[in-house]
Symmetry: C2
Subunit: 446 residues, 2 copies
């Protein structure tokens, strides 16, 4: 084994950074500012020598005058003046993919924070890395500042993971937290999140759950050893969550969180992203605001929860840097936990009854027999109802298109199949007793 | 850099395990059972070849017939038939220290779960390891199944840690959780914990906070780069916590947890272990039962919380195994995060005002003017009182030694120095208005 201070470790590790947004600029600042401490930690000098970005002149609060400039990230990735390539451009294809591919093809290690790229091309890139002997780090791609990739790849011994779930989108968690604390609507929270820079101008990718789905698919592969399958899951966002849902959840002792959940079953993998009732006292319910959290259930380690900042320049740059340090130290692990040719083809589990039951919110016509008719349809599908709530202070009296008044009905079911609930609701809608779309939220016992 | 599958990686890594208690036996079972998966993960065979323990004949549910047996762990540590020595004997001195020292002296890597050993001899052992080029892993020594050592050593880049705190003793957390959920006394909970094997026959080391102090001192060194100083801290356990304290905490929106807390200040390090009021909605308040949690506050990563099982055979063995895998892969980091000769001498911070304020419970004589006299003494020390509670359902009417009746008075203070509070309480006691020892618990804003 090599000693600290070996001669071959003394050559500085030269880093090229493509993409100088918030994370990229923060990384360059840290590498320039903390150089001495890094050298002390590592026994080797670490130096950013080149950058690529769209605009050379933009003020990013960092001094790039002494660095080699590249307009083309692929040219930087291939340049023989660097030992390690950092991709912080973003996007699942285009220059990010081209540059990462180019670096790995020539055996150059890569660190990226790009979850979309990983979700789409992760297996291809891992294979490339293994073939050329390069390392591929992506700690920052999932849950920004939380070292969940390292924990999955290196921290669990042979513990067999049964389930992974978490809060992986800070925008959604910020919105849900404020809705819960301040009683304001989804739309108002979203507007604030956009003003504060926590949400994009087009928030669809975040609030509809697709970002969570990308991250979950990467974790799922690291946990279960199947190929990455970001499209093999039901994805539901938070844009339909109302104050009524939040308040009923609170009354019942729950908070609503957008969770990504992947489970290993005997018949394959179940992956899903959806708003979820989580018990108020649970550790994950305490993860508020822009914070993220990932929970792992294994045979050996009953449950492990990692919580921290999911985004933001400094935490994300910190994760990128920990990958760089690992590579500089010579740490070698297969990018996806096992060699890519040992990954199993993804196998989707058939639908199963959901243990925790469901929260159902309906806008029912305020006519005699409506509730009885609804209850009958549920009974026909063998769905047991735990409780029905029609609290007057919450029942938003409204009027159906045909002029009849409506009232909000909330039902909590026992363990049942989601398909049974959906079939019952379709039947109830066909009976003409409800107005608009019903709301359906899973309750997790956690 | 070496490739997976290099010829020199093909030689099996031969492991010797000293100490076959719960963790040791579980580790041997995993190494024997999961051999194929380990080889797949590692690209190298991992094999337990020798063991040492007190009794050869004891039934541990594992087959040790094919393994080399040693009565003396030091002889095993030195035996040239192993490549890596695992110490699971326990104890801060004696055979554990002798064996670990013997292995490191000949450059043999060591993995240990022994926090007492690390707290007392960690710097000496780290120096030995660095001198001989051996690795020293101790992931399992702090917070059993939670990968906090790895996160501190490798997962945070150059993030500068400002504060580390956590729940590091499962026995205490189990007792406090049950006291909170079931309204039973400390003594009854302790009896149950002993019956369930969560507490030792002599529980002093756990319930008086010393175990937490050992673990905190190790984390503190990894966080701040000072020498390990387990004796440089105020340590207070949970044996004086009453149902009254638990219930007032609940009424005010808090839970009581035994926390170890270490902070970097401009004037040195502050380390302390004591029961603490933590806000009910916080993530750490959700960490219940035998679970542990460690929270890190850094400049870059605002707050990171790692929660999971703090003890038990499988989680602890899993952490031991992750250290073994790291060593087998050739991962090289200084045991204490930085080379041991760069550790700074420990510097104890002077006492500071405590931001969160204090909870104070007194048994006051039920005489006219008592409360006014108490309030006056607090005022003399410039202590602002947020609220005073004398709830009738909780005031345990009692009788002072002089025959006068007493009632329980609870005060919540604003930010103040602990020394001021203690001085005021001493004065109040001298005035003769209270009976017995006052209870003082810190409130943390977290």
């Amino acid at each position: 084994m090599a000693e600290f201070g070996d001669a071959d470790r003394q050559a500085p590790l030269r880093v090229g950074v493509a993409g100088l947004g918030n994370v990229g600029a923060t990384l360059v600042r840290i590498l320039q500012k903390d150089g001495a401490e890094l050298t002390r930690k590592l026994g080797r000098q670490l130096e950013v020598v080149a950058v690529a970005a769209r605009s050379r002149s933009r003020d990013r609060g960092i001094d790039i005058s002494g660095l080699e400039w590249f307009d083309d990230p692929v040219a930087l990735a291939k340049w023989d003046g660097i030992d390690l390539f950092v991709e912080l451009i973003g996007g699942e294809d285009g220059p990010a993919f081209a540059a990462v591919k180019a670096a790995l093809e020539i055996g150059r290690p890569v660190v990226t924070a790009n979850k979309a790229l990983l979700a789409k091309h992760g297996v291809t890139l891992a294979r490339l890395a293994e073939e050329s002997g390069a390392q591929l780090g992506f700690e920052a791609a999932v849950a920004g500042g939380i070292p969940v990739i390292k924990t999955l790849r290196e921290g669990l011994g042979t513990a067999r993971i049964a389930k992974v779930f978490g809060i992986m989108n800070g925008t959604c968690n910020y919105i849900l937290t404020r809705m819960g604390n301040e009683g304001i609507s989804f739309a108002d929270c979203l507007k604030d999140a956009q003003a504060l820079g926590y949400a994009e101008a087009d928030p669809t990718f975040d609030v509809e759950g697709f970002d969570t789905a990308h991250k979950l698919s990467i974790l799922s592969t690291l946990c279960f050893g199947y190929e990455i399958a970001p499209d093999k899951m039901r994805v539901e966002g938070i844009s339909n969550i109302t104050q009524h849902d939040i308040q009923v959840a609170a009354d019942l002792g729950y908070k609503i969180k957008l969770l990504g959940i992947a489970e290993r079953t005997d018949d394959g993998i179940e992956q899903r992203v959806h708003p979820t009732f989580v018990p108020k006292g649970s550790a994950i319910a305490g993860v508020d605001g822009v914070m993220n959290a990932v929970a792992l259930e294994t045979d050996h380690v009953h449950e492990l929860l990692l919580a921290g900042p999911g985004a933001g320049g400094p935490p994300t740059a910190s994760s990128v840097l920990s990958d760089i340090l690992d590579i500089a130290r010579g740490t070698r692990v297969p990018p996806l936990g096992v060699p890519s040719d040992e990954l199993l083809p993804y196998r989707e589990a058939p639908h199963r009854p959901h243990e925790g039951g469901f929260y159902i919110r309906l806008s029912a016509k305020d006519v005699a027999g409506a509730l009885a008719a609804i209850a009958t349809r549920m009974g026909e599908k063998s769905i047991s109802i735990d409780s029905v709530i029609q609290r007057s202070d919450l029942s938003a009296k409204a009027v159906a298109p045909d002029g009849s008044p409506t009232r909000t009905v909330v039902m909590i079911t026992q363990q049942t199949l989601e398909s049974s609930v959906r079939e019952a609701l379709a039947q109830i809608a066909a009976d003409g007793f409800i107005v608009g779309e019903p709301q359906l939220i899973r309750i997790e016992k956690l």
